[in-house]
Amino acid sequence: MNDGFTLEHWQKLSSSKDAWSSLIYTLTLSLVSVVLLVVLAAFSAKMLLEKSSKKGVLPLLIVPLLFAPIVAGFAWYYLLSPAGILSRLAHSIGLISGLESFPRLVNDDWSIGIIVVHLFLVLPLFTLLFIAQAKAMRLKEMDALARNFGGNAYKRFFQLWVPALVHRSKLLIALYAIFFMGSYEVPLILGKSSPRTLSIFITEKLTKFQLSDVPLGHCMAMVYSFGILLLLQLFLRNVQSLRP
């Protein structure tokens, strides 16, 4: 197998459709997850900041913390799959006639299941964080001021709440984007076999018995590693600033 040093595998990687689609899919999935995460967390922080609304909800936010990704993936799989609990509920109240009429939410083209589980695992923490930060920045008072200036609810949310909170936690958001890229168990359970995330792609290439694929896996792992290190350099230039 050993033919000495060669760039052949790199050429193979650059022309591999499978590798490219995996890379693009991973980046898109991570981006969509993180955008939804930020918007929904900002929204629920805004809502939960209303007087007494937090009561009862805050302990709930701890629940997803207790879930391993694999358990969360599995629980949501049995909730969302065509033969799952939601489908049965829909059937029992007459919304659908059978499992084929239930919309595809797992192993689907839009990765809905994966995104839902990503949000389930992380949204509570970001909500808690955003509540604390909104309080520290007195966003509610600013919001009232913006209303006096005639800003409507939509504008106030997207031009005040979201940018302010994003600015304050941009490092953490960047970290989470990277973490989503490395997501493994969740897409393994809820994703399609193609395209698949980079972590699944690399692991498959490196550990399956197709020996000729191993160098390809290493090349992709290198690309991924350098990408991560580059992002780390970009975002964490000051690790200290992550800490209060």
Partner: protein, 269 residues
């Protein structure tokens, strides 16, 4: 709208829990029956008899997580201290992020060759080493929050007021470090407890932890024991969290705001 958000949260957070309990309590589960499924305590009552592998998986998970938690605590405390006042601290801390950020499973896949070569593959020891590769650096990241210039100043003041190094360790250092040590332990424990990919890769399915076993049941399309395994992972944590919260109730030293912010740094996907 606020009420709607609240309702949304109730559903979102509780549905998966309900699902797990439900799946662990029903037996025959043919579509479309939901409430008319066959209810049974059998899974629970014969918890370990019906699935003997569960008890050993639980033991493996617990041992691994405790070892990782304890080692992480010690390692983080000592190494973070050594790094704290070095010029290269920043570079090292950035580097400590890498094994976790690249996803443990990818790291495991990249290093699998060496694990096989050194005979660590498929062994409990190998899995421990593999987990340590990304958990220990992370413990340093957490503990470096404690070893700051501020901590150094407190120790200076203590010494200046007449505290000997030994007395300062007891009265200042450990009490001040306690919340961070606890956080490090819990975080490392969780990282090990939740880990699937690397454990499966290095253990090649022979070192069965609860995550590995859940996936196995899942692949066998056997949701009922899988749900049980999932609950076995959640319930001890719920207990641990309650104990931690009780232990620190109303105590000044637990800076909850900080803790919440830092819990964020070890996300799970």
């Amino acid at each position: 709208m606020t009420r709607l958000t609240k309702m949304g949260w109730y559903l979102f957070a509780l549905l998966p829990v309900i699902t797990l309990f439900y799946l662990s309590l029903v037996q025959s589960w043919t579509y479309p029956s939901l409430f008319r499924a066959e209810w049974s305590w059998q899974q629970w009552s014969a918890l370990f008899e019906a699935h003997p592998s569960l008890s050993s998986a639980l033991a493996n998970s617990l041992i691994l997580a405790f070892v990782m938690g304890s080692f992480g605590l010690l390692f983080g405390f000592v190494i973070a201290k050594e790094l704290a006042f070095q010029r290269t601290k920043k570079a090292w801390l950035q580097f400590a992020f890498y094994p976790y950020l690249i996803a443990p499973v990818v790291l495991g896949a990249m290093l699998q060759y060496y694990f096989v070569l050194w005979g660590w593959s498929a062994s409990f020891f190998g899995v421990m080493i593999a987990q340590a590769l990304f958990i220990l650096p992370f413990s340093v990241l957490i503990m470096s929050n404690f070893w700051t210039a501020e901590t150094k100043e407190y120790l200076h003041v203590g010494a200046s007021l007449g505290g000997s190094p030994k007395a300062l360790r007891k009265t200042l250092l450990y009490p001040l470090a306690k919340p961070w040590m606890l956080l490090t332990f819990v975080q490392c424990f969780l990282m090990s407890w939740f880990e699937y990919g690397m454990t499966q890769l290095v253990g090649i399915g022979k070192v069965q932890t609860l995550t590995v076993l859940s996936m196995k049941f899942l692949k066998e399309a056997n949701p009922h024991p899988a749900a049980l395994a999932g609950l076995l992972m959640i319930l001890p944590l719920a207990l641990l969290f309650s104990i931690v919260l009780l232990a620190f109730k109303n105590k000044q030293q637990l800076r909850f705001d900080r803790v919440v912010e830092h819990t964020n740094e070890a996300p799970k996907p």
